[in-house]
């Protein structure tokens, strides 16, 4: 069962941009794409840990600011020829509000 945390409204996110927050000690980047979809990833590039929240958002992808790897916002996977994946944080939009799944700790 998932607990959902209200983190704000769509208007709090820049179009084609991102903002960050900390969730259970992990940095999370919340993205808003050109078509007003919202995605959330752990804010660390699988390559060298770059803050994805600082990248250029295009389509449903973001370019890491450190070495320009492209990361899928939907899956967290590195696109193109490189490999790697950053965890996806489940997110949903309920009316005006953006809800983020609070982390479910692994049950041992």
């Amino acid at each position: 069962m998932t607990d959902w945390i209200d983190i704000g409204t769509l208007a709090d996110l820049p179009l084609r941009g991102s903002r960050t927050l900390t969730l259970a000690g992990d940095p999370v980047a919340v993205f808003r794409t050109h078509d007003d979809r919202v995605f959330a990833l752990i804010d660390r590039c699988p390559h060298k840990g770059g803050p994805l929240s600082a990248g250029i958002v295009h389509g449903h992808a973001v370019a890491c600011p450190l070495h320009n790897l492209r990361i899928s916002l939907a899956t967290g996977a590195v696109l193109g020829e490189d490999a790697g994946c950053t965890p996806v944080v489940p997110v949903r939009v309920a009316g005006e509000r953006i809800l983020l799944a609070s982390p479910v700790r692994a049950a041992a």
């Binding site: 820049p14 941009g17 259970a24 050109h34 803050p51 250029i56 389509g59 450190l66």
Partner: protein, 833 residues
């Protein structure tokens, strides 16, 4: 005819026969060096390259060019060279004699000769008439005044360009395709254009009333005046055009009148030669006229009672003609035509019959927000017509269904949403839609290339878009089918097999940097989405390569007007600091000319301590870099630095970084000029200007060059008699010493030349191209010609630079300190534990 039989034996194995000597071959004379004449020869050569000796007469003094691309030439989007189909090499390669600029004026069918205007008489065995059509000039009073021109050939374009050079008012008579293209081009060239159209709606032969109205509104929004139901009474003027009078009495001033009311098959030569002529030169299914040795093709012919004024039927006619000439049977059965075109950058498509009437059903889709209108006309469960405005992507599919007469009942409900939807739901793969096209589906309307031909070209070794364009010519003209061609490349070769074109800006577009930039400037584009829309971007909002480039090109083209798009900037330019590998930032305040003060040093020291910056370092550019600042703390750091009088050093930007100096004549025993003072002046003048890439300057006070000015983008080396200005140096991966641009005698001249040079770099270099590779690409001679030798040009460049600077010298740190874009720095929730 024995010769036909002789050549027919070429298929035999054995010794290859020596090429027939020119005199032995039959002589094919072609009247008309246009699209039809040359295409017919191309088709013939593809079937048999040795049978005929070919001579082509052309009325215009040019090689074969793409007449339908005259509009982009008028609009400044193409040069004449870019619309040449076959250059002089093609004629030479095939041994074709081109007689350009000497039109044929008479045909003697008894003597089997043609006579050119010069008096030259040439014998023929086979004669091909491809004279095209003549513009129709309405015989109103004044129609023959100087300044009244048609829109048919390169000379007309030159005449329009000459008239447009001084601006002023133009009237275009005729609101059909040609008229609207002329009006669009003249508008872009700075004329105030009024279009007069006799009928109630524009392009009434291709568009229905709704689409015609949408087109009119869109053109009016682009600054044209469109008068429908406007009947011309007379063209006014004394010795030259001064205006147009309408039948209702209105008078419109004009120094140029373009008559584009229609075309007529050019049949004068044929009629005088006694050939059977109706509306056009009458031909059979292999394009043979009433004389078995005389053929005719293109807009000048009448086949089965039909004349055609579009390019597409030419391709079919030429195939039948060439087959007939080499003795094969391939009868031409007439063409169903569709029109897919761009009018003033607006996509328009029509095909078939859309007049409605008994038993016809309409399916209509309107999307006002996107400016899209689609209408498909059905009769007896088959598509008989279609009109599309704003989104013509499915035109080819509708046309294919129409030509084949396929029943559409099964997909009727989703037909209007297009092929992708109809063939598998809203998420259908666009690739599947292209894969589903039949082999004879036309991909490139401009050059008459079918899907099968594109695939054959790829299978034959064309592994890139450019190769396909130069091979089968698909997508080589207007480019609107580029996406489909790219999909065919991927389908045929697999994604990995496709070779990227060498000069494409990024994967989102098939255009290179220079083409995109030219289009932005010449078409007056004002926003990134507009560029992507008008240049057929293949992605919804670009990528991390093209967006920053487009943002820069627009910023450079529209100083003070364009609103910078923060989301199209790399993080450093968004956060005005340099991101480091651990995600923190470094902050570099400006130190003008490398000179600082105790107050500044104290403020920097305080910031380092207050924010626990782990390191502070002297940079290579004579200033101090504070490392390890968190994103959240940046505004507070800047506030403290601002308070001490310091502003952003733009150490993060594609802009002026530092101006490195030595102490110069004020202290140094070798100094010849005040290098520090000039460095400060340069930095004060040039900071804040966005450029294609980072830009470094230096001023050395003597040729010992302690400031290392000869590895900077712009370096000054002071000498006793003045200032040597050096450009294009780089101390990066590939060290490049500067080139000497010019030597000047005063600081003012040095500043002026620097401004002109920087502006030229800003306007001409590609995004992310430093001055060193830019100069190597365009040549120092070009830069000297523009900045040194052309005094007026230099002044204009410098004026544009200072104009631009009047909008760019606001400290971005101070704006953030004042609260701008606070969300960029603050987390969404302080703690969401």
């Amino acid at each position: 005819m024995e010769f036909f039989e002789a050549t027919a034996t070429h298929v035999d194995d054995g010794p290859v026969p020596a090429p027939a000597s020119p005199d032995a071959r039959e002589h094919l004379v072609v009247i008309g060096n246009g699209m039809a004449g040359c295409r017919a020869v191309e088709e013939l050569l593809a079937r048999d390259g040795t049978r005929f000796r070919v001579t082509i007469f052309g009325a215009e003094p040019h090689v074969n060019y793409n007449r339908i691309m005259l509009s982009p030439v008028l609009a400044g989007e193409r040069t004449f060279q870019e619309i040449v189909i076959n250059d002089s090499g093609w004629y030479a390669q095939h041994g074709i004699e081109l007689v350009a600029g000497d039109p044929v004026v008479a045909i003697d069918r008894v003597a089997r000769t043609v006579t050119a205007r010069s008096g030259r008489v040439t014998g023929y065995d086979k004669l091909l008439i491809a004279t095209g059509s003549d513009p129709f000039i309405i015989p109103v009073p004044g129609h023959d005044l100087p300044g009244v021109i048609s829109f048919r050939d390169m000379a007309d374009v030159d005449a329009m360009l000459a008239a447009a050079a001084g601006g002023g008012e133009a009237v275009v008579i005729g609101g059909g395709l040609l008229g609207l293209e002329a009006a669009h081009g003249l508008t872009l060239r700075g004329m105030k254009v009024t279009v007069l159209h006799l009928m109630p709606t524009l392009m009434e032969r291709q568009l229905d009333e709704a689409a015609g109205w949408l087109l009119k509104s869109a053109l009016e929004a682009r600054g044209q005046t469109i008068l429908t139901g406007a009947d011309t009474a007379a063209i006014l003027g004394d010795g030259k055009v001064e205006g147009v009078q309408l039948k209702d009495g209105r008078v419109l001033p004009a120094k140029l009148v373009v008559m584009a009311v229609g075309i007529r098959p050019s049949v004068k030569l044929a009629r005088e030669a006694g050939l059977a002529v109706g509306r056009g030169i009458q031909v059979d299914d292999h394009m043979v006229t009433s004389d078995a040795d005389v053929l005719a093709v293109g807009e000048c012919v009448e086949h089965d009672g039909q004349c055609y004024g579009l390019v597409a039927p030419l391709w079919d006619m030429c195939r039948s003609l060439a087959d007939g000439l080499v003795g094969r049977t391939n009868p031409y059965r007439g063409s169903v035509t569709s029109t897919k075109l761009k009018v003033a950058g607006l996509d328009v498509f029509s095909a078939g019959d859309f007049s409605g009437g008994e038993g016809c059903e309409d399916i209509v889709l309107r999307d006002a927000a996107r400016g899209v209108y689609k209408r498909v006309v059905l009769k007896d469960d088959r598509i008989i017509g279609a009109v599309l405005f704003g989104d013509t992507g499915d035109g080819g599919w509708y046309f294919d269904l129409l030509k084949k007469g396929e029943r559409v009942a099964a997909i009727r409900d989703v037909l209007i949403y297009g092929q992708a939807f109809a063939s598998g739901g809203g998420l259908a793969d666009p690739k599947a839609a292209v894969a589903a096209l039949s082999d004879d589906a036309e991909i490139c309307g401009c050059n008459g290339v079918s899907k099968g031909q594109v695939v054959a070209s790829i299978a034959g070794g064309a592994c890139s878009l450019d190769a396909v364009r130069s091979g089968c010519k698909a997508s080589a003209s207007c480019g609107s089918c580029t996406g489909i061609v790219e999909t065919l490349l991927a389908l045929t070769l697999g994604e990995e097999g496709v070779q990227a074109g060498p000069k494409t800006m990024c994967k989102c577009t098939s255009y290179g940097h220079d083409e995109v930039r030219r289009a932005i400037v010449e078409q007056g584009m004002r926003a990134i989405p507009e560029v992507m829309q008008r240049l057929h971007w293949s992605t919804p909002d670009g990528c991390s390569s093209c967006r920053p480039a487009l943002n820069y090109y627009l910023l450079c083209a529209l100083p003070g007007e364009y609103v910078d798009d923060q989301q199209s900037r790399f993080v450093n330019e968004r956060l005005h600091a340099n991101i480091q590998k651990d995600g923190t930032y470094s902050v570099v305040p400006r130190m003008w000319g490398g000179v600082t003060t105790p107050t500044e040093l104290r403020a920097i020291a305080d910031v380092v301590e207050k924010y626990n910056a782990p390191m502070v370092k002297v940079t290579g550019g004579q200033r101090l870099d504070i490392f390890g600042i968190r994103k959240e703390d940046l505004p507070a750091v800047w506030a403290d630095l601002n308070a001490a009088g310091m502003v952003s050093g733009h150490a993060y930007a594609k802009a002026l970084r530092t101006v490195k100096t030595c102490v110069g004549s004020e202290w140094c025993r070798f100094g010849t000029q005040d290098s520090t003072g000039l460095g400060i002046k340069l930095e004060r003048g040039f900071w804040g200007s966005w450029m294609p890439h980072k830009f470094k300057m230096a001023v050395s006070g003597c040729p010992r060059n302690c400031a290392e000015a000869t590895i900077k983008d712009f370096g000054v080396v002071c000498v006793d008699s003045g200032y040597e200005l050096h450009v294009g140096g780089n101390g990066g991966i590939h060290v490049r010493a500067t080139d000497l641009l010019v030597k000047v005698t005063t600081e003012e001249e040095a500043m002026h030349t620097a401004a002109a040079f920087v502006q030229l770099y800003r306007e001409e270099a590609r995004y992310l191209e430093r001055t060193a590779p830019w100069i190597e690409r365009v040549g120092l001679g070009h830069v000297k010609a523009r900045v040194v030798e052309d005094e007026a040009g230099r002044d204009a460049l410098a004026a544009r630079f200072w104009h631009s600077q009047s909008f760019s010298q606001d400290d971005p740190w101070a704006e953030r300190v004042a609260g701008a874009d606070a969300g960029l720095h603050q987390p969404l929730l302080a703690a969401a534990e």
